[in-house]
């Protein structure tokens, strides 16, 4: 039982991190109807910027204050993501308003390759470290209740808390602020939003910036766990079944979907994996998502689209 609970907790914590990446997909899709395949590349780009800025700032400060170096790096990486958001809106989205969804998807595929290539050209392709003081050693709990206790990974636990906090803040931002309301208005109907004076271009920059900041936080967390290197871009693939399951237009869907996928893949790997030779967690997440789609094509929380003909 103890081991089952441990696997469950591990899955929930991993799922919370998937939610964070999935949120980037949802934010952009909600406001512009673009399925942003470049979200993973944005995570890599942001993490590379953070890691290298921190390294350079730390060297400039004589290695005396890692906290200050990280703070400078965070601001610098945030500014970099703003530049990315501005460039995407100015050179890509503005020219492609009202194009087919498939066209926009292909464009984001192009952005993926550009960000990966430019990111590695500017910041390098080695493995870089982000040290934000995350604890690495595990903690053992409930040893009296379960034989061997339940092992909690402190780093994953803190990361899950940060992810949950960010999700909460974004929900507040969307629901309670004028900019958030404008974003939702644009998401509902571009034409109607324009007619009441909401500046579409500025809103798109904001939403890509928010997705960029989400990518930055995800990049810091994953980069601290795995080291900052190219494979961070593949983290986005872990979030794809989450958005399929939770629905592309739902923030709560991204959260619940992330948790279900996180738990589902860990339990499947641990309990079903040994029966079929292991290594099933990646594709099993998609099986789980597709099974849900059989019954709810719009995902768990997605909007049901009814077209009258």
């Amino acid at each position: 039982m103890g081991f089952f609970i441990e696997t469950l907790i591990g899955g929930l914590m991993a799922g919370m991190l998937y939610s964070l990446v999935a949120l980037g997909f949802v934010l952009i899709f909600k406001s512009s109807g673009v399925f942003n395949f470049a979200q993973g590349a944005m995570v890599l780009f942001a993490a590379l910027a953070m890691a290298r800025f921190s390294e350079w700032a730390n060297a400039a400060l004589g290695g005396n204050s890692l906290f200050l170096a990280n703070l400078i790096a965070f601001v610098g990486a945030g500014a970099t993501m703003w530049l990315v958001a501005w460039a995407v809106e100015r050179f890509v989205l503005r020219k492609l308003v009202n194009q087919e969804g498939a066209t926009l998807l292909m464009v984001t595929l192009g952005i993926t390759y550009i960000l990966e290539g430019v990111g590695q050209t500017i910041f390098g392709s080695e493995i870089y470290n982000i040290d934000v003081g995350m604890p690495k050693e595990p903690v053992m709990m409930f040893e009296s209740l379960f034989e061997g206790g339940i092992l909690i990974n402190k780093e994953d636990f803190i990361a899950a808390l940060i992810a949950a906090l960010l999700v909460g803040l974004l929900t507040l931002f969307f629901q309670k602020t004028p900019v958030g309301r404008a974003l939702r208005a644009v998401a509902d109907d571009h034409q109607a939003a324009l007619s009441i004076g909401i500046p579409l271009n500025r809103i798109w920059v904001i939403v890509w910036l928010v997705a960029g900041v989400v990518a930055l936080v995800a990049g810091i967390i994953w980069g601290s766990k795995l080291g900052v290197q190219f494979s961070l871009a593949t983290v986005a693939l872990r979030a794809l079944p989450v958005v399929i399951l939770g629905g592309l237009t739902s923030v709560p869907g991204a959260i619940v979907g992330g948790l279900i996928i996180g738990v589902g893949e860990k339990l499947s790997e641990v309990y079903l994996g040994p029966m079929v030779g292991g290594g099933i967690e990646i594709w099993f997440a998609y099986v789980l998502a597709l099974v849900v789609l059989l019954f709810r094509p719009q995902g768990l929380f997605g909007e049901k689209i009814i077209n009258r003909v």
Binding site: I127, K136, M140, L151, F230, S231, T234, K266, V270, E281
Partner: protein, 443 residues
């Protein structure tokens, strides 16, 4: 309009520059021995691929700086394939037409794909420390050269080392050994040997595959925590290795009980983990990090000091840099050996280089003279043995650097030979290959 034309020209140039082929020095001309270099400087495995490629290319430059091979200069061209098998084959197809006489794919997947092509094109494949283990049998695999060691050698030595720590091979009975492996031809390669050893000594083998690129291993390490194996063998590449070490730390599995293959024992695998990986050991393909070796000093003096180094200076002598350098060296020595038979100062063909690789005899004196004293042991190949050496050392990460051990292990020749012959004969039957006889080998 002019601006548009300029922009178009710039875009076309940019595409040309960033296309799959990174031609850093494509100057294959007459009287030059051409070396194609398959590299992955981008993508998920770039951090490991870069130092290998830099070491490989730097050594070719060093040979040129010393006058070439009996006066024949070496030329090279890189082809970026991102560790993707299809792109690797594409690179091979493109570069073979430029006069390639030896290929080193640095990918077991690409090696599997090229093994059928090499005999047709008559180009030898050197796979130092990777590739098909049964390709040691040169009577069947005429064109494959897994020089210095195969994964069966690695797996065998790993078990010998664990047994030594436990107090003998008989002490392995009842123990549990987990193999955490990259779910690819590379990661699966040691399984037959480990299963054979498990049968012989009565230990339980636990197989735990990790999907590419290996960034998600939580479930794997939860299983390890539940099963509590006595030892974990790590058969990873790239980010999978550092992730495994971090997960071991996060689940409290002792790093001292972990032993990695030589592709899981370089600086990029542990640098990011630092003190968290202290005590972790890995096999070496003879060499470790060798910053004090003579060949490295020559490299710094004759190549890097003249501004011709391929990568950063501080990388010279690191583990994967040395792997690339040694891979380059054995290929060059194949050419040199071929020249002894087919004419010094001449450019060799693929068939002639194959003969050279099959008759390599790098004794200790020769190696020491070339600057490899303390770096590696003698290599002697033959028609029946395309590997040439099966010696391995163990190195340990002390938190800041790799420390090579003093003990040398040799793979169990008797066990290995039987397995190699079984597998190669099976391959020969499948592919309808008639193995060469000792008489044919002499020709």
């Amino acid at each position: 309009m002019k601006f548009r034309a300029l922009a178009l020209a710039a875009a076309v140039s940019a595409v040309g520059l960033t296309s799959a082929t990174v031609s850093t020095a494509a100057f294959a001309q007459a009287k030059e021995q051409f070396f194609p270099v398959l590299v992955y400087r981008t993508g998920a495995y770039a951090a490991n691929g870069n130092p290998w490629a830099n070491g490989y290319v730097d050594y070719l430059k060093l040979v040129n700086a010393k006058g070439g091979v009996n006066g024949v200069k070496l030329s090279f061209e890189e082809c970026e394939f991102g560790y993707a098998t299809d792109r690797g084959v594409e690179c091979y197809e493109r570069l073979k037409g430029k006069g390639a006489t030896v290929f080193q794919p640095l990918s077991t997947g690409v090696t599997f794909a090229l093994t059928d092509k090499a005999p047709v094109d008559k180009i030898p494949l050197v796979t130092a420390g990777y590739g098909r283990s049964e390709s040691q049998d040169g009577s069947v695999f005429n064109w494959n050269f897994p020089l210095l060691g195969t994964y069966w050698v690695g797996a065998d030595v790993a078990i010998q080392h664990i047994a030594k720590q436990a107090g003998g091979l008989d002490k392995l009975k009842g123990k549990k050994i987990a193999l955490v492996y990259h779910d690819s031809p590379f990661g699966k390669e040691p399984i037959p040997l480990l299963q054979e050893r498990a049968k012989l000594h009565g230990f339980e083998l636990m197989l735990l595959p990790v999907a590419h690129p290996g960034v998600e291993q939580k479930a794997t390490w939860l299983q390890i925590r539940q099963a509590r194996p006595d030892n974990v063998l790590l058969w990873g590449w790239g980010v999978m290795n550092s992730t495994a070490l971090k997960e071991a730390q996060a689940t409290g599995f002792a790093r001292e009980k972990m032993l990695g293959i030589w592709w899981a024992g370089a600086e990029p695998d542990v640098k990011d983990v630092g003190a968290g990986a202290k005590g972790y050991a890995a096999l070496t393909l003879q060499h470790s990090a060798e910053p004090n070796s003579k060949v490295v000093k020559d490299m710094l003096e004759m190549v890097h000091a003249k501004g011709q180094g391929t990568g950063p200076k501080d990388e010279v002598g690191s583990v994967l840099y040395m792997r690339g350098l040694i891979s380059s060296m054995v290929a060059v020595e194949g050419v040199r050996k071929a020249q002894e038979r087919y004419g010094k100062g001449k450019v060799m063909t693929g068939e002639q280089v194959r003969w050279g690789l099959e008759n390599l005899n790098l004794d200790q004196k020769t190696l020491d003279g070339m600057g490899f004293a303390g770096v590696m042991r003698p290599v002697q190949t033959s028609c029946l043995d395309h590997m040439g050496s099966s010696w391995v050392r163990i190195q340990t990460w002390d938190g800041t650097k790799w420390v090579p051990g003093t003990d040398w292990y040799q793979a169990d020749e008797k066990l290995l030979r039987g397995m190699v012959l079984n597998a190669s004969r099976k391959y020969a039957e499948e592919k309808k290959i008639t193995p060469r006889t000792p008489e044919q080998c002499k020709q």
